[in-house]
């Protein structure tokens, strides 16, 4: 896989570390236990496109919002997670 880091350009996936679903951006506000249960543990397991979080650990340390086809490994879009989070507000 080749991931296009918005800061550093296209790099091999070995420079990045995978965390998990981009759902992790949506941390619940307040103390609702059910909402946290969903946030921490519940994940969809899609074939095809999935939004994920990766960190460019061997580069600029930026957290990236990566839309990836998990069947073909095609990288469809990469944005800074910070930008995605701020846009959602």
């Amino acid at each position: 896989m080749r991931i296009h880091c918005p800061h550093c350009g296209e790099r091999d996936h070995r420079e990045f570390e995978y965390l998990g679903s981009a759902k992790l951006l949506e941390r619940p506000e307040g103390g609702d236990a059910a909402a946290f249960h969903d946030y921490v543990f519940q994940r969809k397991n899609p074939t095809g496109e999935n939004a994920e979080l990766w960190q460019h650990v061997m580069g600029c340390s930026a957290w990236l919002h990566v839309v990836r086809n998990v069947t073909t490994h095609e990288i469809i879009a990469v944005k800074l997670a910070r930008d995605v989070k701020e846009a959602a507000r």
């Binding site: 896989m1 249960h37 543990f41 650990v57």
Partner: protein, 978 residues
């Protein structure tokens, strides 16, 4: 000798001596081991895997299943080397494999007589009983008899490398299609890599007697290669096999840099390349396939195209009396070419009835070969003519052609399935099987030279267009446009005897019939039941034939039957190349503190902590056991003063107006209220409520904090903080950076630490530097940071200086400590000191412990949200019978405790069901004069004072213990505050 007097791409003026099975021969530059052996009249080159049948070379390329050799001696010996691709170098030592005692007299050929018992699936049937005989008797015998080459058993001393390359257009294969593609793309200004597995560019152009642009085809290829090498934007890589196609336009390739040299002179033997290409043009050509007929595996029986390669490229006649057996026009070419070279052609046997080849030799149409004979090599063959009569024909070489299979393997590496083309009776690549890859020429089923040239050019033009580069119109050379007709013909029907499909794994047509009878009919089942296609050639020779046989048996078409999936690598890759840089320490990173050299010079015993090397203990004169040193160092800290390098703890510099708020959200306790010049201990959770890490954070300024993490969690914590800042709260104005390596930090611990620092820094009394205080100080003119923190429980300080001053500070501190009856201490003493205090490491924070389990619920702020807060209150995590952290001390006759022991009740049997917890950390405490331990015990916080057993069943220890507070030493913390 079988060398034809003239011709071939070899240098006849130079002779290269080499040996095969101890016998001396000579080769010429340009020869492969196979061509040199054939030139020397050697037909017998190997024994088959299972039945030890005598075998000769079948092909002239990397698809060779039979002629596998051990090359080199000692540690350099490489098994399973294909003689057909192996260039002969001066003094090469080649040996045949899998025979005993010799290739000509192989005792294990008895297997061939036992073949009725060794058919497909024999493993599962024949050796079932008695059961215990399998490992003791049957398996060793079978393993001895079956096999390929031997490993040297010694460490490989050769150097291998890994490398990356990037290009606009990767052209795989340097035949007519690849050359034209690379030339066109190069002219258009694209960055091009042309990779070919051969050592001469040209592919089949070097193997045929044909012309391109009015020149001999091999000369045209050489001229094109020379032109490409002159282009600065084109890289021509010979001896480079593209082995795998991966996502993102990434390809694996092996370049054999020095395999062909007698002396590598320091060059790497092989380089494993990762090539990243925007576009790829697959011009890998095609591989010829055999026809199955009885005893078709006798040495001297070869593929017709290979016979032409040996004749034209190597100037070798594969035999003196050659017969040709074909189902296609291409086979005729072999007969014509050999006749033109003066070789006797004893028969041309064509399976087709509706053809009339005009060739000056005995011709049989509608005929088939039904048997061969000859000792250790073919001497005669039986031909069943169109009227059913069987005729004997003399031949010392039988050239066979069953048509050609496009070399489409790479297009299957991402799960693509090939498409069947009835007109050429072959699978061709399905477009878009690999993104941005186009197959051209023979690899695409276009077998004419002109067609290959045109397709190569068209693919390159398409790539140029997509790359928005200059469009070019190179001249299309004049070349042969014959496609050659073929009629599918896979195996000769209605025959007696065994017809071989997979030469390398000894699979016959009968084995496929057996698999069918026993209902292993899907191609994937058939493959695994018969082992067909599972050898090192991955079925390049055999897959099609076997599919066709299975299709006949099931009454399905070949496309309905399907094909097995091709996976990387295209040809075998040596582990040495894949593991390049990984031998020994390889590129594994190591981290050294600034005091490392000093510690080693002091005789410290070093230990690896993660990637760090740290001093474990500092043996003093007369100490012979680590415990002596450790006990002394612990006492030194408790009674005088000890010095320890603690630089390996993670240090994260956190700045910004929102730094305090940010820390409030990542720590369970408050940090925004921390005063400048103070330090606070903090616990950090994962979002699931488990403890992630602990450490102290100092507030150096209003908007400036320095966090410490444990050594092991420094990286994960940094990543976690970045996640929190970037992904959760990007609105917070806070920035962080790791400064672990920028600062050397040294602990000064013990009752005399204040005296020591008084001489170095000045007044560090409680009044000016209270417990958990921090601030900037000057040490010998160097700006340093001083922290009043303690991981030992004693009065203690930590001094941080810019890393360049670490070693000097250490020397100075240890000198002053020794003057006060103290000295340096290492990791062992550090660990004892913290266990005596019940301080945590990741032995306790093991990812399963909550703050409550650790007995630190008071650190959970109720005034704010923080990572893990909600999840830590999950019902199961509040269970009072969870395993909780306690201290343990032996109270029975057994005085020892071992880490990892399980806890069971006093009268319980030590089995899993009765497990009450486990021991996490253990040490001998010189302070308490006895073993102590930290342990998780179910409901432990309520069981202080009770007894329990620590049992280690592996090391046979059963210790009665009292459950105590984990703070063994100075539980009130008065010493640290003193």
């Amino acid at each position: 000798m079988n060398r034809i007097p003239t011709g071939g791409l070899i240098d006849r003026d130079i002779s290269i001596p080499f040996t095969f099975d101890g016998q001396k021969y000579t080769a010429h530059p340009g020869d492969t081991l196979a061509s040199a052996l054939l030139a020397n009249g050697v037909r017998l080159m190997g024994r088959s895997f299972k039945y030890h049948r005598p075998r000769g070379v079948l092909t002239a390329g990397s698809e060779e299943p039979n002629a596998l050799m051990e090359i080199g001696e000692g540690a350099d010996r490489t098994p399973n080397t294909r003689a057909t691709t192996c260039e002969v170098y001066h003094g090469m030592v080649a040996q045949s494999q899998n025979r005993f005692p010799s290739l000509k007299v192989d005792m294990l050929a008895v297997n061939d007589l036992l073949s009725p018992f060794l058919g497909a699936g024999f493993y599962y049937k024949t050796f079932m009983w008695p059961k215990k005989f399998w490992e003791a008797v049957y398996e060793p015998i079978i393993r001895r008899a079956a096999g390929l080459g031997r490993l040297s058993g010694q460490a490989d001393k050769a150097v291998y490398e890994k490398a990356w390359a990037y290009c606009d257009v990767l052209v795989i294969g340097g035949g007519p299609a690849g050359l034209m593609a690379a030339f066109t793309a190069g002219k258009g200004g694209a960055k091009v890599i042309l990779a070919d597995e051969d050592f001469i560019i040209g592919g089949r152009l070097n193997s045929e007697k044909t012309e391109v642009d009015g020149k001999p085809s091999h000369r045209w290829a050489a001229e094109m290669a020379a032109k490409l090498r002159e282009m600065p934007n084109v890289r021509v890589m010979i001896r480079t096999t593209v082995t795998g196609a991966y996502d993102g336009g990434t390809y694996g390739a092996v370049e054999r840099v020095a395999d062909h040299l007698a002396d590598a002179k320091g060059a790497p033997r092989q380089i494993f390349w990762r090539i990243v290409a925007k576009h790829t043009i697959l011009a890998a050509g095609a591989t010829e396939r055999p026809i199955a007929f009885p005893d078709n595996d006798r040495p001297g029986i070869m593929l017709a195209g290979a016979v032409r390669t040996y004749a034209h490229r190597y100037g070798v006649a594969a035999g003196q009396r050659v017969a040709v057996f074909t189902n296609n026009d291409d086979g005729w070419r072999t007969a014509q070419d050999l006749l033109a070279l003066g070789v006797t052609v004893t028969a041309l046997i064509d399976t087709r009835t509706d053809v009339s080849p005009d060739i000056d030799c005995p011709v049989f149409t509608g005929a088939a070969v039904v048997g061969t004979s000859g000792r250790l090599g073919i001497e005669r063959l039986s031909v069943r003519t169109s009227d059913g009569a069987v005729q004997q024909i003399n031949a010392d070489c039988l050239a066979v052609s069953g048509g050609w299979n496009p070399a489409l393997h790479l297009t299957g590496h991402m799960g693509g399935k090939p498409t069947w083309r009835e007109d050429i009776a072959a699978f061709v690549p399905t477009p878009n099987s690999i993104p941005n890859l186009i197959a051209v020429g023979a690899a695409n089923g276009n077998f004419s030279t002109l067609g290959a040239l045109k397709e190569g050019m068209a693919a390159a033009k398409a790539a140029l267009k997509d790359l928005r580069l200059k469009q070019v119109r190179p001249h299309v050379p004049v070349a042969d446009d014959a496609q050659g007709a073929v009629a599918a013909y896979w195996h000769v029907p209605d025959v007696k005897g065994r017809s071989w499909l997979d030469f390398q794994n000894d699979v016959t047509v009968k084995d496929i019939e057996l698999a069918h009878r026993e209902n292993f009919r899907s191609v994937e089942h058939m493959k695994r039941y018969t082992t067909l296609g599972m050898a090192t050639d991955q079925g390049k020779m055999s897959n099609m034939g076997a599919l066709a046989v299975m299709a006949e048996l099931t009454g399905q078409s070949i496309p309905e039957t399907g094909t097995t999936i091709f996976r990387p690598p295209y040809t075998p890759v040596q582990m040495g190349a894949l593991g390049a840089g990984g031998a020994g320490k390889g590129f594994a990173p190591e981290r050294f503190t600034t005091t490392h050299d000093w510690a080693v010079a002091r005789g410290a015993v070093m230990i690896e902590v993660g990637l760090w090397h740290r001093a474990s203990w500092f043996p003093a004169a007369g100490e012979t056991h680590w415990r002596q040193s450790c006990d002394r160092e612990v006492k030194m800290v408790r009674e005088a003063v000890g010095i320890c390098d603690v630089s390996t703890l993670g240090k994260i510099d956190i700045q910004g107006p929102d730094a305090g708020v940010f820390l409030d959200r990542v720590y369970t306790n408050m940090f925004s209220t921390l005063k400048v010049g103070k330090v606070r201990y903090g616990l950090m959770l994962r979002e699931d409520g488990m403890v992630l890490d602990d450490g102290t954070t100092a507030r150096l300024g209003e908007n400036h904090f320095v966090m410490t993490t444990t050594t092991g969690a420094a990286g994960p914590v940094m990543s976690h903080l970045e996640f929190c800042a970037q992904c959760l709260w990007p609105e917070l104005d806070v920035k962080m950076i790791s400064v672990t390596e920028q600062w050397a930090q040294i602990a000064v611990a013990g009752p005399k630490s204040r005296d020591l620092l008084a001489g170095l820094i000045g007044d560090v009394s409680n009044a000016s530097f209270p417990f958990m205080g921090c601030g900037n100080v000057s040490i010998g003119g160097v700006n340093a940071r001083l922290f009043r923190i303690s991981f030992s429980g004693e009065l203690a300080y930590e001094i941080a200086v810019p890393a360049g001053y670490g070693a000097a500070l250490m020397v100075e501190l240890v000198k002053r400590a020794e003057a006060l009856g103290g000295g340096a201490y290492g990791m062992e003493a550090l660990n004892v000191l913290r266990i005596e205090k019940g301080f945590l490491t990741h032995a306790e924070m093991d990812g399963r412990a909550t703050v409550a389990d650790l007995g630190m619920s008071g650190m959970m702020s109720t005034k704010k949200d923080f990572i893990g807060k909600v999840s830590s209150q999950r019902e199961g995590l509040l269970d009072p019978m969870r395993e909780q952290l306690v201290g343990i001390r032996p109270v029975g006759p057994v005085r020892q405790i071992l880490g990892g022991s399980i806890m069971v009740d006093v009268d319980a049997e030590p089995i899993r069901e009765n497990m009450q917890g486990h021991v996490t950390s253990v040490c001998y405490s010189p302070t308490l004069d006895g073993m102590i331990g930290l342990a998780f015990v179910k409901g432990g916080h309520g069981r202080i004072g009770q007894t329990i057993r620590a049992v280690d069943l592996l090391r046979n220890l059963d210790t009665l213990c009292e459950i105590v507070s984990p703070q063994f030493h100075d539980p009130e913390g008065e010493k640290a505050r003193g």
